[in-house]
């Protein structure tokens, strides 16, 4: 990145059990139950959330938590980027069944409005009094990576003083259909959750910084080249005191991880998927949750994920000591 440094001013992650802090995180051995987030949304926003779905609750609560943790007021024109793979899937399924499964083809107006793709970002903006740019990005397993790229660019280029970026996805039933939709194997844990980061230009009390977001072609002849490129990226930014931790995305295979290990030394793995399960925007939970606790020393986090069409994306951030 070449412009302003993009500082991470605050972060929040909500896991499938409505866990918001490290001590609440639970190792998942099977699909988690969907937690009722109404009380958490009420606590964080002061508003009832009966009319919004679970996906919107995940996004609204998490965004509000990230902003609360910043403890300062941000400008109301702060841009907001929301990433999601499937959006309001539970509600969409319900409306879909109303339209397709009955003879009259009619649906609930509330259900339809909640299923509209811009509705959840509206609720986030309303809860946070944000009137700036408001964009929802949906690109399957790389949705959050692209949203981070866009939000960081706004701050880096000087177009925005702050940028709020997050990702959220919910699971749905029946399990088999949901797994088919997100192309998971039966032995993977069907997860859900959210993660939000507030970016800014001012280093005061910053928790970290965004170093780079890069994309690579990992198909055909380029199959192995991306590993070398990522290794060079890490080496470029690694300082002697930096610890490097790999955050593997849910499409990253063991062979990919082994290939990264062969090029990047001293890199422990943070298997955040053990706490949130697999979903399109699990990377949002993974990246935001590294700020659950303070760091004793500067630490580089490298998040890598693939999609099914030969595309790899890497997000490199630094968590500051203290």
């Amino acid at each position: 990145m070449t412009g302003n440094t993009v500082y991470i001013l605050s972060a929040a992650a909500i896991g499938p059990s409505s866990d918001t802090a490290r001590e609440q995180r639970r190792l998942l051995t099977e699909d988690p139950h969907t937690a009722d987030l109404s009380a958490l949304v009420k606590e964080l926003t002061g508003e009832e959330s009966r009319r919004i779905g679970h996906f919107a609750q995940l996004a609204v609560a998490c965004s509000r938590l990230a902003l609360n943790r910043f403890k300062k007021t941000i400008t109301h024109m702060t841009p907001l980027y929301l990433a999601t793979g499937l959006g309001e899937v539970q509600n969409t399924l319900s409306v879909f069944e109303q339209v397709m499964g009955t003879g009259d083809s009619l649906c609930s107006p509330y259900g339809f409005v909640n299923a509209v793709s811009s509705t959840t970002a509206f609720h986030i903006a309303k809860a946070a009094s944000l009137n700036g740019k408001n964009v929802t990005i949906s690109q399957e397993e790389l949705s959050f990576e692209w949203a981070i790229k866009l939000a960081a660019s706004d701050v880096e280029s000087g177009e925005a003083e702050y940028a709020l970026v997050g990702g959220a996805d919910e699971s749905s039933q029946p399990r088999q259909e949901h797994m088919r939709r997100i192309r998971l194997n039966d032995d993977q844990v069907m997860g859900q959750g959210s993660g939000f980061l507030l970016f800014g230009r001012n280093a005061d009390n910053a928790a970290g910084e965004v170093i780079d977001v890069q994309w690579f072609d990992s198909s055909g002849e380029e199959k192995n080249a991306w590993v070398l490129k990522i290794a060079r990226l890490v080496e470029r930014y690694r300082k002697r005191t930096d610890r490097v931790i790999l955050l593997p995305g849910f499409r990253l295979e063991q062979g990919d991880i082994a290939a990264l290990y062969s090029r990047i030394t001293f890199m422990p793995v943070n298997n955040y998927l053990n706490f949130c399960g697999c979903f399109h925007t699990a990377s949002a939970f993974g990246i935001a949750s590294v700020f659950d606790t303070p760091h004793e020393r500067d630490t580089l986090y490298l998040h890598v994920n693939n999609n099914a069409s030969g595309r790899t994306m890497a997000v490199l951030i630094r968590a500051f000591a203290g």
Binding site: G87, G101, G103, D104, N131, S138, Q139
Partner: protein, 383 residues
Amino acid sequence: MRKAIKIKGMGVVSSCGTGASALVERMRAGQGSCRSGASFPVSFGAGIRLNQFDPDKYPRNDALADAVISASIDEALGDAGLDRNSSWLSDAALIVGASGMLYDAEIIYNREKSGTKPAPVAVRGPGRETTAIAARLGIKGPVMTVTTACTSSANALMLAAGMIRRKEVTKALVIGIEVLSAFTLSGFYSLMLLSRCRPFDATRRGIQLGEACAAMLLEADDEMDGNVTLCGWANSCDTHNVISTNVDGVFIAKVMEDALSSAGITAKEIACVKAHGTGSADNDATEVMAMRLLFGNDLPPYTGLKGYIGHTLGAGGAVETTAFFKALSAGFIPATLGFKDVDPALRSAPLFAPIEAKPGYYMANFFGFGGNNTSLVFRYGKV
């Protein structure tokens, strides 16, 4: 003035037919292209006026989106003097604006209905089509889908232009795509928003849905030789209400003002506004109110295009931009089809007959559910 982005090529498939020329001729003649009744099963669909793809040319099957996207891309490439074998696309960004794309889930559902319990929404989310297009075209640049309801492809244009202006990429393919579904139709029907499209007219009652696809090729206007250039943009969120913007027009005026600021020009320099003009009572009133706040009582000419092609929702940004500038290139600014009588409450009339197109700055507005408002400023010809 900040660096502008050249629109290098445009292609469109709409209810007027395949290609921009079919659409331009309808706009020149002041003819719409809607039909009565949906081409897919919905119980209330018989009397509904819709703008749909020609079902003979684009049958309603799993391949429908691919077919209209391919036709749009081919026309845009041809418009730019390129073809599918050109390397232009390989390192371009691909940004698709779409509001949901559930039509193929319905096709799958209906196909499986006779067997075991069908899988509802047996598709992978809005990004799947974008991933497939990128793979098909060998695109290696950024690939993403913007889903902000009716502003989706307008915001896709905005994001693409921003990436080019910041030099993150040198070029981009932007696609707006909307294929109507029973889901979408039922939703708007349940909100009692469907009616014949009469933008800004005294008798306007609601929107007329349409399906369309447009492809646009964008690149930096380094040579300053672009005939159509995108030079300013802004997007904002009005948190007044999820389905309607505040009727005082303040938020919409602000987003238009921000787009002018982004372009480095003043309101007086706008030659004409391509209004959002849905034909719903409050939306059109708000848009006129907002224009008065920005331009004063002496409004520039403004026109709405939804009478020709319907409200194409997420595709609207790319489709209406393409339609508008293809008409300008053909020498005219289209009239507002469906407008007949001035609404006494608005005391304002959009263009009701075509006028000659001249070089200048043009504004295009797009507003959507979720309070999502986008304004784009273009330069047409040598100013």
